[in-house]
């Protein structure tokens, strides 16, 4: 399956990635599993996605929790807790 991932704010800046297209094996993928997969890339990735920082995830523009399932073609995003207003 193919997904698109966006990173925002501190994550984007530290990971030096704003977006990427990813092709993954066709198995059940949750937000948590995707985080764990990406965290294998380096210590920095691990720290940003699985570390002490709170990371929020969205699928197709909806906030979701770690157990939400990702499907083929989904747009996933990772970012810190929001601070607008």
């Amino acid at each position: 399956m193919k997904i698109k991932i966006f990173y925002f704010a501190r994550l984007k800046e530290t990971l030096k990635f704003s977006t990427e297209d990813l092709e993954l094996p066709d198995e059940t993928l949750t937000i948590l599993k995707l985080k764990a997969l990406l965290a294998q890339r380096s210590d920095t990735w691990h720290e940003m996605l699985m570390g002490k920082l709170k990371v929020r995830g969205a699928i197709n523009h909806e906030l979701v929790d770690d157990l939400a399932t990702i499907h083929d073609g989904d747009e996933v995003a990772f970012f810190p807790p929001v601070t607008g207003g």
Partner: protein, 150 residues
Amino acid sequence: MTVRVQTQDFDVGFEINQLRVARPDVGAVVSFVGQVRDLNDGNTIATLTLEHYPGMTEKSLEAIVNQAKSRWNIMDATIIHRVGTLQPLDQIVLVAVSSAHRNEAFSACEFMMDYLKTEAPFWKKEATAEGEQWLEAKETDETARKRWEK
């Protein structure tokens, strides 16, 4: 419903008037204007840069207006949020609500601000003499939002 995310400034008077002009059933318009302060948690702010998630931002702001409409008998609402680099005294956000009676407009406006602060994908980075830093989400904003779950 008006929902806009933009770099340029907005005219508060114009936007408030839009919610009541030609609407003689409107008795009340409550609005919130947020401004960039020169001091935040003791830091002197030079600039404040707002990043957002295009696509999701508009959708989440519209969802907030729709939630307010389902909870209170309001007539219309406007949310305008600026992004990009702002300075102290710049306007950041406008939330305005019209209704027949004041209590509903007050509740809906405060509700929308509390949800905007905790659910709309905006992030602030402040630049001070000591450098740049991303702002942390505040526990008090989360608490403010939670009171509406009662």
